[in-house]
């Protein structure tokens, strides 16, 4: 508890009459891969929104590396090492793949009040960008316009951009959404490799992936944490089975 | 004191006129997500039609009704011919396209009616004054504008809140695809809504015509004020438009009338006379700036969406 990289206490958010986040308590130590699962409408997106700073909580506190970040703006949190990938593709469509990642590098390379030098030939930006692309396996697509990439490649690019900001913690919002079995397997392999370098908070529906990767799982239902623990314990938890896994097993399919 | 009351009423009247204009704008923007810069052109056309029809029929009221119908038709034609393709596109595209329409309409009006403006004089029975308080007289016509505008506001409220069509309008505002999927003829709905907006603009134009001259470009000056109203009130909110419009009308009218005198209290006569006019024209924009700093979403922001 004392050494948690990310500490969430009593996080609450209401939209009109709907309680999207209900006194959420969560603790993620460094090096862990923590998965958050829950049926649709459980408030997972709202939780991510509050963690990144897009949504202001009504109550509660978020601490990152021991520092209270509850009121910090979005870009400051990113600067502190909290990166995210987006569930619905949110990239720079009219730029190339390499340009996209280079922008992420630039964001963490000091200020950008540089008006003269050509940024596309700046090795300080391009080298780390290429390294990140290599990590996710997109090197051969570096000069392709993002608008022309496949969906799976978009997801890979999302991870590359998040990685390029050299984060301590990565919030992944359904990285495997809409992927076929082959692409999912590749993503699981990538996430497995990333585990060693970066703390991961993963929101996913893909149960096979979740149980293959996660060190800890938290289950959200209607904004409340109904269970949190090791995968084996979650698997047999009756409440969880009832609320979520029961439906999931019936509808279990990929992509 | 009497002057103050008169100016307040003038401000109210101006504000209600602004409301009619802003309501049309905000309806179209809220439901079709369309930014229509040419809204002011419809205001202008309403005024021109009214002057023409009143001269032709000899009746102010008949001319006004015909003008209303004509503006409604023009609005719907514009929607069908030009604006349909713009739905779903970038707002910049709307701005550019409707700016093109402004150029077109200004020139069309100039070609048909000539560069000099028109005059619309009030019939004798309206050109009187009405005793609103013992000993206090106020122009009947301006009073009738206030009454008509309030009736229109009430009708708008009833239609949008209490009828099936209004429900479709509100539903369309929050979820376009869904309403379309329900089998409602979206194209027709949009054309009607745009026509309604055009009619409101035309009504504002023809009512204002006897007070200000009818001339080319009259639409644009007041359009910008309508935008200010919407910004202060909150885009998409008719209630916000109402409150903001009355506020803007009052501040602008009363401000212009009394600002120089207020300034004279603190500054020298010469300074007040120089700064006065400049400040009074800036007044509304200063208010808008303050709102932007304190509450960028407007006073009554429409949540959701």
């Amino acid at each position: 508890m004392a050494d948690a990289l990310l500490q969430i206490d009593g996080l609450t958010k209401r939209f009109g009459g709907v309680v999207a986040s209900d006194e959420i308590v969560l603790s993620v130590p460094a090096g862990e891969l923590h998965a958050i699962i829950g049926p649709n409408g459980a408030g997972k997106t709202t939780l991510i929104g509050q963690l990144t700073g897009e949504i202001a909580p009504d109550a509660g506190r978020i601490q990152f590396e021991g520092r209270d970040i509850t009121a910090l703006p979005i870009h400051t949190r990113s600067r502190l090492g909290l990166a995210r990938s987006f569930q619905i593709t949110s990239l720079f469509l009219d730029f190339t793949v390499l340009d996209n990642v280079a922008l992420a590098v630039q964001a963490h390379a000091g200020h950008s009040f540089h008006f003269w030098r050509d940024a596309r030939s700046d090795p300080a930006l391009r080298e780390p960008a290429r390294a990140a692309l290599q990590r996710v396996g997109l090197t051969q697509r570096a000069d392709v316009l993002v608008a022309n990439l496949s969906h799976g490649e978009h997801r890979q690019l999302e991870i590359a951009m998040a990685l390029a900001t050299k984060p301590c913690m990565l919030l992944l919002d359904e990285p495997m959404a809409g992927m076929g079995p082959e692409e999912s397997a590749r993503m699981v392999k990538l996430l497995h490799e990333l585990k060693r370098e970066v703390t991961l908070l993963l929101i996913e529906h893909d149960m096979e992936a979740v149980f293959a990767l996660a060190d800890k799982i938290t289950v959200l239902v209607y904004g409340r944490v109904i269970a949190s623990g090791e995968p084996a314990a979650i698997r047999v938890n009756p409440e969880v089975r009832r609320a979520y896994l029961g439906e999931q097993e019936a509808v279990s399919s990929h992509g | 004191m009497l002057l103050f009351i008169e100016q307040c009423l003038n401000g109210l009247q101006f504000g209600l006129l602004l409301f009619m204009l802003a309501a049309g704008l905000t309806l179209v923007f809220g439901i079709m997500d369309l930014v229509n810069l040419a809204h002011g052109s419809l205001y202008m056309i309403g005024a021109y039609f009214a002057a023409t029809f009143a001269a032709m029929t000899g009746s102010f009221v008949l001319g006004g009704l015909l003008a209303l119908g004509a503006t409604l038709l023009v609005g719907m034609m514009v929607e069908v011919i030009a604006l349909r393709r713009l739905y779903g596109r970038d707002h910049l595209d709307h701005v550019l396209a409707t700016f093109g329409l402004i150029l077109f309409f200004n020139e069309l009006v100039r070609a048909v009616w000539g560069p000099a403006g028109l005059n619309l004089s009030l019939p004798a029975w309206l050109n009187t004054s009405f005793p609103i308080l013992p000993g206090v007289h106020y122009p009947t016509y301006r009073l009738s504008i206030i009454v008509v505008a309030l009736v229109v506001a009430l009708l708008l409220y009833l239609v949008v809140m209490r009828t099936r069509v209004g429900m479709l309008i509100r539903a369309g505002a929050s979820n376009r695809e869904m309403v379309g999927a329900l089998g409602v003829n979206i194209k027709l709905l949009y054309t009607l809504v745009f026509g309604l907006g055009a009619a409101l603009a035309g009504l504002a134009g023809l009512m204002q015509a006897p007070i200000l001259t009818v001339q080319i470009g009259m639409g644009e000056n007041i359009l910008i004020l309508a935008f200010v109203v919407i910004i202060i009130g909150g885009i998409g909110s008719i209630r916000g438009a109402f409150v903001a419009a009355v506020l803007v009308g009052l501040i602008d009218t009363v401000g212009r009338a009394f600002l120089i005198d207020l300034l004279r209290l603190g500054l020298s006569g010469a300074a007040a006379s120089t700064a006065g006019p400049a400040l009074s024209s800036m007044l509304i924009y200063l208010v808008m700036a303050v709102v932007l700093v304190v509450r960028p979403e407007g006073l009554f922001p429409v949540s959701g969406k």
Binding site: L93, D118 | H91, A97, I224, Y285, P296
Partner: protein, 356 residues
């Protein structure tokens, strides 16, 4: 090198060559009106280039950019009126004040985005216009005459039309070059990224507000310089140069020429002039053929054609002239397809008429 010989580059080079040679042509034919005309085009092209910076590259559609023409111009006019004709005082002050205006207005407007932003820039521009109208000491509505162009202690003679032309042209080229360097720098990529996806920019750690504000100020300052040049050129300033329709003209130049391209605004500025000069006679001829002597004066209402033209550009040629030139084969293809669709549509109409 061969890759540079695209139709677009060819047209741009040709246009630049023409611009360089205008004074030469004017001297040989004695037609100095051309120099005056094209000086104005060049100055407005510079203003359009500055607008393109925030609009085309930055995605900030300002409907109040002409206000800075007025600020720069009035600074020169007011200082000249009060006895300060030295360019060394006027010009830096004009740039400073333009930057200040842009800073305050931008700081407020950039708190909004999208259509709100457009409306608010329009409102502020109108406000500045009304301030100009109320400056009774400086001519109010009627404007202010400038009796001496900016003096540079004999070093530069702005009253020499040919010299002034080339000075403006040099400044235009300088502005284009500056824009080129700017948009490819870190700052420029940030601005373009913010246009493409501002939410993502902040998510990866960019505090985009301050950079967009800086861009807005840069654009406003350059436009202020255009205003300074315009004031010197016409030797007259009036609130009309700040009217929102002037901002509309600038927007038309940028969009018609090609938004987000380096030379688009220059092409657009020339194109708008060409339309202004060429449409009326063409319309007169067509009108005369169709409606006799009554129709032969139709050209006066050329803006009635410009309006729908703008609409068509927005609907079908979004990239402007630059876009058409850059994708010439695509454009030709599109026109062919358009005609084919038209023929098919007409054919269907007749077929169903025959049936029904």
């Amino acid at each position: 090198m061969i890759a540079l010989l695209t139709p677009r580059n060819f047209v741009v080079a040709a246009l630049l060559a023409i611009l360089v040679l205008i004074p030469v042509y004017a001297h040989s034919t004695g037609n100095f009106f051309l120099v005056t005309l094209f000086t104005r085009i060049i100055i407005l092209a510079m203003a359009a280039v500055s607008l393109n910076l925030i609009m085309g590259y930055g995605g900030m559609v300002s409907f109040g950019h002409a206000a800075y023409l007025g600020v720069g111009g009035y600074l020169v006019g007011i200082l000249a009126y009060e006895g300060y004709s030295s360019g060394f005082v006027q010009w830096p002050l004009a740039l400073l004040v333009s930057a200040l205006f842009a800073f305050v207005i931008g700081a407020l407007c950039l708190r909004t985005r999208g259509v709100y932003f457009i409306m608010i820039t329009l409102a502020f521009a109108q406000m500045i216009y009304y301030v100009g109208v109320s400056l009774s000491r400086y001519g109010a509505d009627d404007g202010l005459t400038i009796y001496n162009r900016s003096q540079f202690a004999g070093l530069l003679n702005l009253s020499n039309r040919t010299f002034f032309y080339y000075l403006c042209f040099a400044l235009l080229l300088g502005t284009v070059y500056l824009t080129w360097r700017l948009v490819n720098s870190r700052f420029g990529l940030l601005i373009q990224g913010a246009r493409s996806n501002d939410r993502r920019m902040r998510a990866i750690g960019f505090p985009t507000y301050r950079y967009r504000l800086a861009c807005f100020v840069i654009a406003g300052t350059i436009c202020g310089l255009s205003g300074v040049l315009l004031a010197n050129h016409t030797e007259f300033v009036s609130p009309a140069m700040m009217h929102w329709t002037k901002s509309g003209d600038l927007i038309v130049m940028v969009v018609l020429g090609g938004m987000g391209s380096l030379f688009g605004p220059v092409i657009g500025s020339i194109a708008l002039l060409v339309l202004e000069e060429a449409l009326p006679p063409i319309m007169n001829v067509i009108g005369g053929l169709v409606a006799g002597s009554a129709g032969a004066r139709v050209g006066e209402y050329w803006q009635m054609v410009l309006g729908p033209m703008l609409l068509l550009v927005v609907l079908f040629a979004r990239g402007g002239i630059d876009g058409i030139l850059s994708n010439w084969s695509g454009f030709v293809q599109g026109v062919r397809e358009g005609f084919a669709n038209l023929r098919a549509g007409v054919g269907n109409l007749f077929a169903s008429a025959r049936r029904g």
